[in-house]
């Protein structure tokens, strides 16, 4: 998406702030879910998955990445503190997405922590 005369730095921060956390959670969900399926399926006899290790690793990496993208969002938010969120692009638009991202990333942080904790607290493959 090329647009006239934009510095790359703030652009990258804004988009990473917006999408970083979301994509992190996606990975945690898909891999984390896949691991439990692999661990609790018949094939585990040959695969031998260590589910806790996976989930802990996923949660840790996830938290780190989400904090990074929240940091990016907050930095853009600070950069554009004097800009109106419906103001002219690119600053106005950066402000707009930074406001959104700085709140949105919180949800992903909470989801990653909660589901990670749950996957660790419960004993593997005990049917609900």
């Amino acid at each position: 998406m090329r647009t006239r005369g934009l510095a790359v730095g703030p652009e990258f921060l804004q988009w990473f702030g917006l999408f970083g956390a979301a994509l992190t959670w996606t990975v945690q969900l898909v891999v984390g879910f896949g691991v439990t399926i692999a661990r609790c399926g018949p094939a585990n006899a040959v695969l031998g998955v260590d589910v806790k290790a996976w989930e802990v690793a996923l949660m840790a990496a996830g938290i780190a990445l989400v904090l990074l993208s929240e940091g990016a969002a907050l930095s853009v938010l600070w950069e554009t503190r004097n800009v109106d969120e419906s103001g002219p692009p690119p600053e106005g638009r950066r402000r707009f997405f930074a406001v959104a991202a700085s709140i949105g990333n919180l949800f992903f942080l909470v989801i990653i922590v909660l589901s990670g904790t749950g996957a660790v607290v419960h004993q593997p493959c005990h049917p609900a």
Partner: protein, 206 residues
């Protein structure tokens, strides 16, 4: 605002090249294909996901009596297919510079390779069907569904390429240029897909 490039009026290679230079963002056609590719990618994502879901659901994979997937021939064929991304991309950049003959030559070359690939793959496919029919087990069902879906996409890609070749025979317009861009994008996608499918297909060997 009349300074804006008018893609509709660009009906000569030179005019098309001018529009291509002046444009800031990608054309609607490219975006259309991008979204289409996104949904296609999801489609294959679910197919590959299903493959591994069923794999986790079975102790023996492939099940007893079904041969392990062949290694070399699929590898070679996929390498050939993936390599066609180069001529396809060359064709786009040539057309964008207004060099229509070169663009069509590159495209034709790619189409020949892709057709050859498809022919060989279909031969393999039929051979496998006789060896372990899809109705045999979950493994063979997902195996043939996955490969069949990919071959279908290659076939569609070849149709698109032929269509562009036919249309550009009577010269280049911005409309056809967009078509070419879209087709090229589609091919790059199908080639990446080929790698994913191959990886999945060969996963039992790992």
């Amino acid at each position: 605002m009349s300074a804006l490039p008018h893609s509709g009026k660009a009906t000569t290679p030179r005019a098309v090249a001018r529009v291509e230079r002046a444009r800031l963002a990608r054309p609607n056609g490219w975006w259309g294909m991008a979204i289409f590719v996104a949904t296609e990618a999801t489609l294959f994502g679910t197919i590959l996901g299903t493959y591994f879901y069923l794999r986790f659901n079975n102790l023996h994979w492939p099940p007893p009596g079904v041969p392990e997937p062949k290694l070399t021939l699929p590898l070679v064929l996929t390498a050939i297919l993936v390599s066609t991304s180069v001529p396809v991309q060359l064709s786009v950049s040539a057309a964008a510079r207004g060099q229509l003959p070169r663009a069509r030559a590159a495209l034709l070359f790619a189409a020949v390779l892709q057709a050859g690939y498809l022919g060989m793959q279909l031969h393999l496919f039929v051979h496998d069907v006789h060896e372990f029919p899809p109705s045999g087990s979950a493994y063979s069902s997902i195996y043939f569904t996955m490969l069949g879906a990919h071959h279908l996409h290659v076939f569609v890609g070849i149709l698109l390429t032929l269509w562009i070749l036919i249309r550009t025979a009577s010269g280049l317009t911005s409309y056809r240029m967009n078509g070419l861009r879209a087709t090229a994008f589609y091919w790059h996608f199908v080639n990446v897909l080929a790698l994913c499918v191959l990886g999945t297909q060969l996963s039992p060997l790992a």
